[in-house]
């Protein structure tokens, strides 16, 4: 198999499948990668939703998850070097965003509207400046794909802006807290696009700024 570092279970499972189907090393590496992506996302999602449910903000956490998933797949952003540190931090961040959204939903309308405008402007500006943000482990090699991802990220932002604006004028009783969840999620993903976002993840990784990572922005 290519000299790529995957978790033990991904490598073992991929090796077993490759042996069964007589795949070459390249295909085995692809399987190991897919197993790792799938397993980490399922485990992280389950942990986040469980914590959100325990904290009584399940649906707000779901709203944050959907918003951030829509963004990150196209816009990219800062990453941790360790799946376990990533799981720990994201497990806390999503329910915290949901709690903040619920709390902010009770703020006076002027504050909520101001924060909404700030979030949308920040989101659009940072997407235009930075997106898509790749990483050394997953470089975007095609300029065409880079352009397509930027357009997709901006399209997602337009759709979100429409939803957020719609929630501002609807009479649904949960609209305010869901809107604030979306607003905080946009701010979080936007932050992750910036050099400060990369520095934050370097900090989480143990104060070690590695030259191959985009920490200096």
């Amino acid at each position: 198999m290519e000299d790529l570092s995957y978790l033990g279970f991904s490598s073992r499972w991929a090796a077993s499948l490759a042996q069964r189907h007589n795949f070459n090393e390249e295909k085995q590496a692809e399987l190991a990668y897919a197993i790792e992506i799938l397993a980490l996302n399922i485990v992280n999602t389950a942990l986040i939703l469980t914590l959100g449910w325990i904290l009584g903000v399940f649906w707000c956490t779901v709203a944050c998850l959907i918003t951030i998933a829509a963004f990150r797949h196209n816009a990219g952003g800062g990453h941790s070097e360790s799946p376990w540190r990533c799981a720990l931090v994201t497990m806390m961040v999503f329910p915290l965003l949901a709690l903040a959204g619920r709390h902010a939903g009770l703020w006076p309308s002027t504050f909520r509207d101001s924060l909404t405008v700030i979030s949308l402007i920040t989101g659009f500006a940072l997407l235009i400046i930075y997106a898509p943000v790749d990483s050394p482990k997953a470089p975007i090699v095609s300029p065409l794909r880079r352009q397509r991802l930027k357009k997709l990220a901006l399209s997602v932002m337009v759709i979100l802006a429409v939803i957020i604006t719609g929630l501002r004028f609807t009479s649904w009783e949960k609209a305010s807290e869901v809107r604030m969840c979306l607003v905080f999620s946009v701010l979080w993903v936007s932050f992750n696009l910036t050099p400060w976002g990369h520095q934050f993840w370097c900090f989480i990784d143990g104060f070690m700024i590695r030259p191959e990572r985009r920490c200096s922005g």
Partner: protein, 41 residues
């Protein structure tokens, strides 16, 4: 369990191939496994 996994391994490989091709970037969280050279685009 092993028997079932063995029987459906073809389907599993197909699903994993789609996932690998669909997601050459981190989907949701903040850890990026290294993308094999053949999936980089």
């Amino acid at each position: 369990m092993k028997k079932v996994a063995f029987r459906f391994s073809g389907l599993l490989v197909a699903i994993l191939t789609v996932v690998g091709n669909m997601s050459p970037m981190c989907v949701l969280f903040h850890y990026q496994p290294e993308v094999p050279a053949s999936l980089r685009k």
